[in-house]
């Protein structure tokens, strides 16, 4: 073999190497979206679980459409539940001038007077349950069914996980706050407040 052919062989093998050193499509992704798509095709779970972080939180499992997840149990968290402990008689009989006032601290700041008052959600004849707009009974634990009569968009986001804070960890099983864990149903908006911190060092650096 002369020098020429050796050169040629080296050249060709180098070019071949170049082509083979980068196997496209075999584990290479052009962008993270492709990577997620390809890698999640054979997804078979992880060994991690949120269960240890949910200890001490009493939860109930709900299924809404194709979504199943846990929400905190509500009734045990309501101080004066069961309501019938006081509401043993119809409301009209309980209302008197000399009796002790109850619920004096509750003012409704939710929609306007035309849309809502106490009995839009509460049932005077069945105080232990809530009631839908059409008069169906709704359990206090599933109060989200009351909210989603109007707040349909938020409900969709909540089911999917875009609205409502997650409890425990990111790992399954999923547990999410239900509406009333963050929003006071009688006054659902968030208050303005001061930020948790102020960085004085940044002020100095900017001077």
């Amino acid at each position: 073999m002369n020098n020429h052919s050796i050169h040629r062989v080296v050249c060709i093998s180098f070019i071949v190497l170049l082509f083979f050193s980068c196997k496209h499509g075999d584990g290479e992704y052009h962008g993270v979206t492709d990577k997620i798509k390809a890698k999640s095709e054979n997804y078979h779970g992880t060994s991690l679980s949120s269960e240890p972080y949910l200890e001490g939180v009493e939860t109930i499992e709900i299924t809404e459409g194709e979504h199943s997840f846990l929400i905190p149990e509500r009734k045990s968290q309501i101080k004066s539940f069961a309501c019938t402990e006081c509401h043993s008689k119809p409301l009209s009989q309980l209302q008197s001038k000399d009796g002790k006032k109850a619920h004096w601290d509750i003012k409704l700041h939710h929609a306007n007077e035309n849309t809502m008052n106490c009995v839009t959600c509460h049932d005077g004849n069945d105080m232990n349950n809530l009631k839908s707009l059409t008069g169906n009974s709704i359990d206090f634990n599933n109060s989200y069914n009351l909210c989603n009569q109007c707040h349909t968009k938020q409900f969709e986001d909540w089911k999917g996980g875009a609205h409502g804070k997650r409890i425990g960890g990111w790992a399954p099983p999923r547990a999410s706050m239900t509406c009333v864990n963050c929003h006071n149903p009688h006054k659902p908006h968030f208050e303005t407040r001061w930020p948790a911190r102020f960085n004085t060092q940044i002020i100095k650096e900017r001077e």
Binding site: L18, F20, S21, C22, K23, H24, D26, G27, E28, Y29, H30, G31, V32, K35, I36, K39, S40, Y43, H44, G45, T46, S47, L48, S49, S50, P52, Y53, K153, Q154, D157, G160, G161, A162, H163, G164, K165, R166, G168, G169, W170, A171, P172, R174, S176, M177, C182, F190, T192, R193, W194, P195, A196, R197, F198, N199, T200, Q201, I202, I203
Partner: protein, 361 residues
Amino acid sequence: MSSDNKKWFSLNIGRKNQETSSSCSCGKQSGGCGGHDHEEIKHIEERKDGFEQVFDVKMNRRSAFKQLAASLAIGAGAVSTSCSMFSDDESKEKAQIDWEEQFKGNYKLMTDEEKKATVDRLVRSYQLRTGKTISMSSKNAEENVLFGYAFNISKCQGYMDCVSACVEENNQDRNSQMQYIRIHEMKDGNGFNFNESDDNYYHEVPAEGHFYMGTQCFHCDNPPCVNVCPVQATWREDDGLVVVDYDWCVGCRYCMAACPYDGRRFNWSKPEVPEEEINKNQHYLGNRLRKKGVMEKCTFCVQRSRAGKNPACVEACPTGARIFGNLLDPNSTIRWVLENKKVFRLREDLGTEPKFWYFMD
């Protein structure tokens, strides 16, 4: 011993046998090129740790002198203490730990046993120095996990509870008031204008006519900070976290300059955290105590996320604006957000592929 199986990085001075390069010519970070993995595994079959990695290198006289000089300070101290008749067992152990820590390899290249050994040394060292016990993890990336984050701009109210939680969780320097997260107060109608937004406001929030947008390390899938590191002290883990080996970082701040999102922070002074405020649940790549002159940044709270928990910012947010999860799990909430909301990322045109999406209600 042969130096073919070395797993650390060194200049090839005075050594005859050249290694075949295994670097990829396509330059793509995302997932890397197929075909190299096996080669690399073969490459690091025979592993060494500690000063073997440093000393078991064929070197000429000059580089040997350099190595010795660099290690003289620590070496002299260690030797004098460990050989001294007067120092007690504890200070000898301390010296031994310092010695081994000085000559350990890059965390990225360590075997699981080596990772455990360095973590044990650091825990013991802290115990010897302060009398307090910390727990430090060296947990590797979980299989089938790729971490992702979504931030709801409509929900954030600018309370900055996330910032406080982050500082406490990650043992950030209290003196310089370091914070990984910045919340930008943006004026309605001006778009995402970072030049005109304020990330250090102090008034009642949410302020009329403003919205809030948080930034932090986006854990890019094609991270520019990783490419520029001259010593490979920062890299992307298999679960997508971009991490820093604080003991390998030389503090050149190239990564800080390369990051288009201001995601990285530098310790200009010795970071200080009051003893009673130190978070003792630590990870080697996460919130363990740093030293002066090294880079650090958000790790999606690796000490928490690799245990299945949410990062501290997600847990602290009272509005639920922060969503974290496994991008590879088709049933995860983060996947639902990506598939059903209108999401975008910051400066997507740069090709950095952040794993941090923004969306609105």
